[in-house]
Amino acid sequence: MFRYLLGKLAVLIPTFFGITIVAFGFVRVLPGDPIMLMAGERGLTPERHAQLMAQYGFDRPLWQQYLSYLGDLFQGDLGTSLVTHRPVAEDFLTFFPATMELGLCAMILAVCIGLPLGVLAAVKRGSWFEQISMSAALVGYSMPIFWWGLLMIILFSGTLGWTPVSGRISLMYYFPQVTGFMLIDSLLSGQAGAFRSAVLHLILPSVVLATIPAAVIARQSRSAMLEVLSEDFVRTAKAKGLGPALVVGRHALRNALIPVVTVIGLQVGSLMAGAILTETIFSWPGIGKWIVDSISKRDYPVVQGGLLVIAAVVMIVNLIVDLLYAVINPRIRHG
């Protein structure tokens, strides 16, 4: 197991440095130098420009700049926003819990919908249930979620008036952030109706963000299940006279879950991509919206920092999934 972890790290560490090079390079390949970008429309005299270039170290060779960038990075310094003048790392920590809450809810929803759908479709092979659920999965898989989100707003917020259109909680409620998770904080606040408001705000974005992962999980768990069901040990279990529920539940499902866990892990990256769109549509104050806003405001240090941290988060989550995978599948860690 330890050797397996070392092997994974041997690939991940160079990749991480690659990511830092991309993030470092990003600001440098933009037209204009970093000082001009910071000055923006105001413009600078050549003397002031040269002075600032020296002050920020942009006149040094590129490799020296990169090394000092790495040095800052390892001290947790991601630079300073040009717009809010706050440290990028601090801003990230402000917005991250919102994305985390949304992403976790979407993932739980996706697994709760996708897994039973896929497993049942495999068990009831050739039935109308398989037809309908797999057609639905294909539609979900092909969904432009930014449009799907708008449709949900039209139906549930506009026509039915059930849910609010944007944000995380109604402005009526104010309470201190303890965990950063609105669902938990609203409960802790003890204010009547706060939790309900948080749930209502969370429902639509979670459903929208869960759509594609749920479809992918349903398709994958169906094919994994089909493969397992055709194997000898399942036939043996059936031959022993076990009922279908026991065959599926005790023998087949455990083995079918192994590839499904990987797929769930792989969804983390696409969940982040989905969060960019979902948060924009629902004005959800998370890192996806933060990045999109920063791009439109040309706040490049934020884009640079956000790019790096998001890639790092996805990488770490994937590592955890790989390790989990090894735990449930001994063939991998000894292979």
């Binding site: 690659g18 990511i19 090079i21 092909s142 449009w147 039209i154 890639a311 996805v314």
Partner: protein, 304 residues
């Protein structure tokens, strides 16, 4: 399970000519009802795109100032002249959708062509030579894959500047590692086979071995990935358009149309509904086809 009689032709594909292989492929593909429907929809879309100037009732950018936010024709306030209604600037939505088909198909085609060419070149070199070349190339691909694709495309467009061409380049760059990895894996799988060794002994050059001997035997997974990437490209380009970074107004690109329509969603839902429906239909048709292709081309996944 399939009976041995139906498995036999798939097990020995080398025997037949190209025409036989194509016929066998078509027979497999045709059995998948969804795939055939998907193919028909795509054919229809191509026709619509080609004949757009003939089919569209109006110019897609012409603004009818006396018909702003006109509902579809079947609503009481609608007019027959604007079948699917008009947008906030009085432009006919149906005409914009018809011309939009051109953009979406163009985006898919361009992105897949760039990503496929680049990915195959990189992947074949990587898999064929192995060693440090392979290590360096694959580490670079890992770095690209470490970023969520839409995020990286977004940042690339921020560097290159918003616009349809830059969006296509960015998406192609982000999708390319998938092709490179597939091509590499199949090349590594094929290069130790006897027929490659035989060709090498017969004096074939590296280039000939790579392109003429090995590559044609690696195409099946690449074609399937190409189809899937076609739909990803259309979705991502529409997403970039929606975020204001793809095709710029007044281009009738479907994602850009949705971005324009966002502020009117509660007042004029039809402005939002139809462009999204067009994206969904197109992507769904391509994915249906992709599933059919995969089942027909990859004997291991063949249905029983």
């Amino acid at each position: 399970m399939a009976d041995p009689a139906t498995l036999a032709p798939a097990a020995e594909p080398e025997r037949g000519t190209t025409r036989d292989a194509l016929r066998a492929f078509w027979a497999d593909f045709r059995r998948n009802r969804g795939a055939v429907i998907g193919l028909a929809v795509i054919a229809l879309l191509v026709l619509v795109a080609l004949l757009a100037p003939l089919l569209a009732p109006h110019d897609p950018t012409q603004q009818f100032r006396d018909a702003l936010l006109m509902p579809p024709a079947w609503k009481p306030e609608g007019q027959g002249a604007y079948l699917l209604g008009t947008d906030a600037l009085g432009r006919d939505i149906l005409s914009r959708l018809i011309f939009g088909a051109r953009y979406s198909l163009l985006i898919g085609l361009m992105v897949v062509t760039i990503a496929l060419t680049g990915g195959i070149t990189i992947g074949v070199i990587s898999g064929y030579f192995g060693g440090w070349v392979d290590t360096v190339i694959m580490r670079i691909m890992d770095v690209i894959l470490a970023f969520p694709s839409l995020l990286l495309a977004l940042v690339l467009v921020a560097i290159l500047g918003p616009g349809l061409t830059n969006a296509m380049v960015a998406i192609a760059l982000v999708l390319q590692p998938h092709f490179a990895r597939l091509a590499r894996a199949s090349v590594m799988n094929e290069k130790t086979r006897e027929y490659v060794v035989a060709a090498r002994i017969a004096g074939a050059s590296n280039l000939r071995l790579m392109l003429r001997t090995i590559l044609p035997n690696c195409l099946a997974p690449l074609i399937v990935q190409g189809t899937l990437s076609f739909s990803t490209a259309i979705l991502d380009a529409a997403a970039l358009g929606f975020l204001g970074l793809g095709a710029q107004p007044p281009t009738p690109e479907w994602g850009t149309m949705l971005a324009d329509a966002r502020e009117f969603i509660l007042r004029a839902p039809w402005v939002v509904t139809f462009p999204g429906l067009a994206i969904l239909t197109t992507v769904l048709a391509i994915n249906l086809c992709g599933d059919g292709l995969r089942d027909a081309l990859d004997p291991r996944l063949k249905r029983g």
